[in-house]
């Protein structure tokens, strides 16, 4: 870019008229008065290496807080010598998901089958114990790994249920139709917190005496049902967008209701709403920190706990920035991926 081009670009984009010039200058001024002091605090004056709060003397950010507590932020109170189990479970998950991008389309359904039906069992045994592995109670689970576990569980729980609810909402059988409508509207009309309270406090009262369901499991199922209502609404949108001819063609081939839906209707409907589904799952991911309200500590909960530790008071900003970066990174990544999918599908469709 030569000088003339730069001048031209500035004129068109920043100083096209007098009020645009004023706004641009004002924003630039604010920008340059805030950014340097932030960089100064976050990087130049910050302390990165150390073991205690006392090591942070320079007056900048104390990233020692993050590095000392890092393991707790990721794994919660999971016992040190068993950490490899959590790691292994996540490595299997990541490898499977990544491999889905490279294999032939024919093998993809098998990968999906593995993820939905087999991996949860492997993951549960690895993380919880059994088959010779030492039992690790759910109350020591925590940190970022718990965030991911809940998100994953929520997705594989909410997706099939959401599909059934969406089909039910369009059913010709009135009892099923109205049951599904009321069910979906109910869960969509209440805030997640009330669901979590109900799962943690109210639900044990509804079970037979002497039986107990693990609190984390109760909360996870609550989260899953809550999310399934949103999934159902998204999939219903996809079902509505399909032309009637698809149904009629399938019926004229003599397909049964389930065959028609699973082979003809759903594959097309779900494909069109993948962006909406991803958005729902991003929302689920961002909602998991709410479990802090019923005493379960995922990433944000662990940071909140650490910042009120008497040796580490005054570290809230560093902690929240750390949590923010992690959540922002994953949400943004997924939403960009969704947008690219949207573009891909929109060129395919026309």
């Amino acid at each position: 870019m030569n000088k003339e081009n730069i001048k031209n670009w500035l004129k068109v984009n920043l100083f096209s008229n007098w009020y645009n010039s004023i706004i641009s200058l004002f924003v630039l001024f604010v920008f340059f008065s805030i950014i340097p002091s932030f960089i100064d605090w976050a990087i130049i004056k910050a302390t990165f290496i150390g073991k205690t709060k006392a090591d942070c003397k320079t007056g900048g950010a104390c990233w020692v807080f993050i590095s000392v507590w890092f393991e707790k932020f990721i794994y919660g109170f999971y016992p040190d010598k068993e950490l490899w189990r959590v790691n292994l479970a996540f490595i299997i998950l990541i490898l499977t998901v990544v491999s889905a991008f490279f294999v032939k389309p024919k093998i993809k359904p098998f990968i999906l089958f593995f993820l939905i039906f087999i991996f949860p069992i492997i993951g549960f045994v690895l993380i919880h114990g059994g088959f010779g592995l030492e039992n690790v109670e759910t109350r020591v689970w925590g940190g970022l790994s718990l965030t991911f576990m809940l998100t994953f569980f929520g997705i594989i729980f909410a997706f099939p249920l959401g599909v059934l609810l969406a089909l039910g909402k369009r059913s010709e059988l009135p009892v099923i139709k109205y049951f599904c409508i009321v069910f979906v509207e109910f869960w969509r009309g209440i805030p997640l917190i009330t669901v979590l309270f109900a799962a943690a406090i109210m639900f044990p009262l509804l079970l037979p005496a002497n039986t107990s369901v693990d609190k984390l499991l109760r909360v996870a199922i609550g989260l899953g049902i809550f999310e399934s209502a949103y999934v159902a609404e998204v999939i219903r949108g996809g079902l509505q967008s399909l032309p009637k001819g698809q149904y009629e063609a399938a019926k004229s081939l003599g397909m049964s209701y389930w065959k028609m839906n699973f082979l003809i209707i759903l594959p097309q409907a779900i494909k069109t709403v993948i962006p909406g589904l991803t958005n729902t799952f991003i929302a689920l991911f961002k909602d998991t920190p709410l479990i802090i309200l019923v005493g379960l500590l995922e990433l944000l909960g662990m940071v909140n706990l650490a910042k009120s530790n008497s040796y580490w008071l005054g570290m809230a900003i560093e902690g929240y920035i750390f949590v923010g970066i992690i959540f922002w990174f994953f949400s943004y990544l997924l939403s960009r991926y969704t947008q690219s999918l949207e573009k891909k599908f929109s060129t395919e469709r026309h």
């Binding site: 010709e172 805030p191 005496a209 309200l293 923010g324 959540f327 922002w328």
Partner: protein, 394 residues
């Protein structure tokens, strides 16, 4: 006749065995689940010597709520505590929606600005705020920003109108005498506006004359209450917060005090939701095709007419439905108040009242039903509006 035959075919369909079985099974399953839970609840309650029912709403609550729009103290009933919580929820939702809408429209329009810096900055704003969990944003405002404000003695005082310190924000209180006259004025103004709107519609369709209803309404809604106040003798007394020293501790008394919990909630809810509204606004403006503007110009509309009569109504048709959904989300999200101890419906009622009475089933039922009612009311209004503005095609 048509209805009758249609009814008959549905009835016939439903009486087929293959259609009947799943429906009957679903009903039986539902009854079983409800019975199972209800039975267990009864047994459990008996074992714990707990009574069920809603009688507790009339008993003394015995706890105090630090932020309330109506009179409330420890001797008030749980029913009153519920009302305080509900009003606090609605208050946060109202202010959240107000600021989220203003911010959202500004950011949404800025996203389409030709100014590169404004354009990029609003993009960063949207991507930043909508990709961070709301609860993190609430914690951030509450535990870091509002905690780093100056102490009471060193309060930030802005034009003697806004006082900012660790305890919260203080603004002057406007005490009205004979305030009902203002209310009469507003009612009268609204009635007049409806009449004018009716007349303007008639003039528009029958004589093709455009009457600036919005401008007239704006003037009327100011003038009528003002005139009524003069007639009724409405007086305004401004009560400023004053710095008082009590037992060696400085404190501001008088005026309206906005507690940090309230502020953190309103800030984070409006910033978070505004990012979503901004995207709706942007999509709405982009949805109006260029041809519409050109067509209105070729019909001889001037730029403000083209904006008011052609562009904005069409953009609003796209903007309003998803934005109403965001309002609904904001109202439901205000339940996150429980995380920082703001006494809203969830915090005060499902939190404090529940832990005091132990009536988990009743209280969670009431809270869920309240939110559900609010949600259904808003979606009913939305559906009515959608029908009203739906494109009527030939």
């Amino acid at each position: 006749m048509f209805l009758n035959s249609e009814f008959k075919t549905t009835l016939k369909k439903n009486l087929q065995l293959s259609n009947l079985i799943p429906q009957v099974l679903l009903i039986l399953f539902f009854i079983f689940v409800v019975y199972f839970f209800a039975n267990n609840a009864q047994i459990n309650m008996k074992a714990r010597n707990m009574s069920s029912g809603f009688d507790f709403l009339n008993t003394n609550s015995g706890f105090d709520i630090q932020f309330s729009l109506i009179d409330y103290d420890g001797s008030s009933s749980y029913g009153r505590a519920y009302l305080v919580g509900l009003l606090n929820t609605l208050l946060v939702a109202f202010f959240g929606i107000f600021f989220a809408t203003i911010l959202g429209f500004i950011i949404g329009v800025s996203r389409l600005s030709s100014n590169w810096i404004i354009n990029r900055l609003s993009l960063i704003y949207v991507e930043l705020f909508r990709n961070l969990p709301l609860i993190l944003q609430i914690f951030f405002w509450y535990f870091t920003v509002l905690r780093s404000l100056p102490s009471t003695e060193k309060s930030l005082i802005i034009f003697n109108f806004l006082i900012i310190n660790l305890q919260g924000f203080y603004i002057p209180k406007f005490v009205f005498t004979n305030s009902h006259y203002i209310f009469y004025g507003i009612t009268f103004a609204i009635l007049t506006i409806f009449l004018i709107k009716y007349y303007a519609n008639k003039m528009f369709y029958e004589h093709a004359k455009v009457i600036p209803v919005f401008k007239i309404s704006l003037i009327l809604i100011i003038i009528f209450p003002a005139v009524f106040s003069l007639i009724g003798g409405v007086g305004v007394k401004i009560e400023y917060p004053k710095l008082v020293k009590n037992f060696g501790i400085f404190n501001y008394l008088g005026g309206v005090k906005l507690i940090p919990e309230f502020l953190a909630l309103v800030f984070s809810l409006s910033l978070y939701t505004s990012a979503f509204i901004a995207e709706n606004v942007r999509a709405g403006i982009l949805a109006v095709s260029k041809g519409q503007k050109e067509a209105s110009k070729s019909l001889g509309f001037n730029s403000s007419q083209s904006l008011n009569l052609i562009v904005i109504p069409q953009a609003l048709r796209v903007i309003i439905p998803p934005t109403t959904n965001q309002y609904l989300n904001l109202t439901k999200n205000s339940s996150l108040a429980a995380a920082i101890g703001y006494p809203d419906l969830t915090g005060a009622f499902a939190g404090t009242a529940l832990s005091q009475t132990g009536k988990a089933i009743e209280i969670i039922f009431i809270v869920m039903m309240t939110y559900l009612t609010i949600s259904l009311l808003i979606s009913l209004i939305l559906n009515w509006y959608n029908k009203k503005i739906a494109l009527v095609e030939r």
